[in-house]
C-alpha cells in the first residue's frame, strides 16, 4: 500500500466488505463493518506486513508503523471538508506548502458551524487525502504531513 501510494482500499466480495486505509503516522488500518464474520487469512492477505488478523466483531484497528517522520492531520468531527475559506478563494494549503502548529488547513462544516482546523504540527504538506466538499468521519486523516 505504501509502495502504491494508495491511501484507501475497499474490497467487497460475497457480502464481505473490507476497508483498508493508511492511518495516522502511516499505519495501515484494516476495518471491517460491524458484525462481519471474516476468515483471518482474508484480512492478513489484504493487509501489508506482519500484523495479526483483526478480531471478527467490531474491528478495532491493528496498526503497524511503516513510515518515519510522517504524520496526519485528522478530522476532529463528522462533517463536510472544504479546502478553501470560501468558494472563490484559494485553498488554505497545497502540496508542498509549509505549515506551523497554528496554520489553518481546512474547514469542516458540521451542523452549519464552520470549523477552521489548525495543523497542530509543523512540517510540509505531502498529500491532500480528500476532495473539496467531501463528507468526513471523526478521526479520518485529511492531510499527510512530513514533520520538521
Amino acid at each position: 500500500m505504501k509502495r502504491s501510494d494508495l491511501t484507501e482500499l475497499e474490497v467487497e466480495q460475497e457480502g464481505l466488505k473490507l476497508r483498508i486505509c493508511r492511518g495516522p503516522g502511516g499505519q495501515i488500518i484494516t476495518q471491517l463493518p460491524q458484525g462481519t464474520a471474516v476468515h483471518p487469512e482474508t484480512a492478513t492477505a489484504a493487509g501489508n506486513g506482519p500484523q495479526p488478523a483483526p478480531p471478527s466483531a467490531p474491528a478495532p484497528a491493528e496498526t503497524t508503523k511503516v513510515e518515519e517522520n510522517v504524520t496526519f492531520i485528522k478530522s476532529p468531527m463528522v462533517g463536510t471538508f472544504y479546502r478553501t475559506p470560501a468558494p472563490e478563494m484559494p485553498p488554505f494549503v497545497e502540496v508542498g506548502h509549509k505549515v506551523t502548529e497554528k496554520s489553518p488547513v481546512c474547514i469542516i462544516e458540521a451542523m452549519k458551524v464552520m470549523n477552521e482546523i489548525q495543523s497542530e504540527v509543523a512540517g510540509t504538506i505531502v498529500e491532500i487525502l480528500l476532495e473539496n466538499g467531501q463528507p468526513v468521519e471523526y478521526g479520518q486523516p485529511l492531510f499527510k504531513v512530513k514533520k520538521g
Binding site: I73, V78, G79, Y82, A110, M111, V113, Q118, P135
Partner: protein, 328 residues
Amino acid sequence: MDKEAEVSILRELLAAGDAPVSGNRLAETLGVSRVAVWGWIDRLRKAGFALEGRPKAGYRLTGLPADLSETYLRASLPDAVLYVHEEIDSTNSEAERLLARGEPAPFAVAARRQTGGRGRRGRSWFSGEGGNLCLSLAFRPALPPARMGTFTLWTGVVLAGFLRETTGVPIFVKWPNDLMFERRKLGGILTEARMDSDQMRELVFGLGLNVNGDPRAWPPEIRETAASLRQAAGRSHALNPLAAALIRRMLEACEEFFADPPPPAFRSLWESFDLLNGREVGVLQGGETLRGRAEGIDEDGSLLLRAPGGRLLRLRAGDVTLEKEATP
C-alpha cells in the same frame, strides 16, 4: 473619558425610568460640575436621545435614537465587553480579528452597517442601510469538538423564543437555524470556530436580524424571500433595547451551552419552533436534492426525513426548501 460620562448619565436616566433626575444629582453622582452635565446632556440629544428638561425637576428620558447607539448599549450592559461600529466589513470578521489579537473574551461586536456581510460558504448577507442588527459574539470555550453538535440548534431556538417574547411575532426556526416568519427569512446565523483535533479554541456566533428594514425596498433577489420584524408585526421596534436584551440573552445562552453539564435535551423545545415538521421538503445535499416529509430531529440534532418509500433518513447537512403547498 467623555464617552464614559455620557454612558454614566444615560445609565442614571435609564435607571430612573419615567422619573426625572435632577441636574444636581447627576453632577454629584459623576463628581462633576452642573455645567459639565449640561454639555453631556446636549451631546446625548445630538446623538438622538430625547431628553425633557424641566426647571427644578430635572431631566427625563423620553425617546431613544432609531439607529444602534454605542452609548445606549454601554449604559444597558455595564458588564459586557462591547465593540460598536458605525460601519464594518463584517462583525464576524472583526470578532475574529479581535480574537486573533488576543483580546479577552467573551465580547460582542455590533455595527449599524456591514459592507461585506457574510453567510455560509461565500454567500453574502444584506443588512440594509441601518435599522437592522448586525451582531457577533465571541468566546474561547474549552470544549471538545463533539460537544458542538447541537450548538446551532440551541442558539436558533433560544433566539426564536426570545424574539417571540419580545416582539410577539410568531417566529419559527428552519432547520438547522434560520429564523423565519412564515416562509421568509428574518434572520441568519453564521457560526465560525477555530479548533485543533481535541479542543475548540475560538468561537464566533454571528447574527444578522432584519428589525426595522423594509424588504420591499431590498435587492430583487431577496425581496420575496426576506422579512423584517417590522413587516411581520406591522410596527417598528425600538432597536436599542432589543439589541441590548438580545446581547444579554445570547451571551447567557452560549455560556449555558458551554457549561458542564450542558443544558438538558431540548428536543421538546425544538418541536414548538420547528417550521418544517410534517411538511414536504427538499434537501439539497452535494448537488442532489432529497425529497420527503420532515419529521423533526433526533437527539444529535439531525433532521429526520421520511423518504417517499417510507425510509427514515437522518441528515446532518443540506439546504432545506419547503415544497409548494398544495392548494386545498
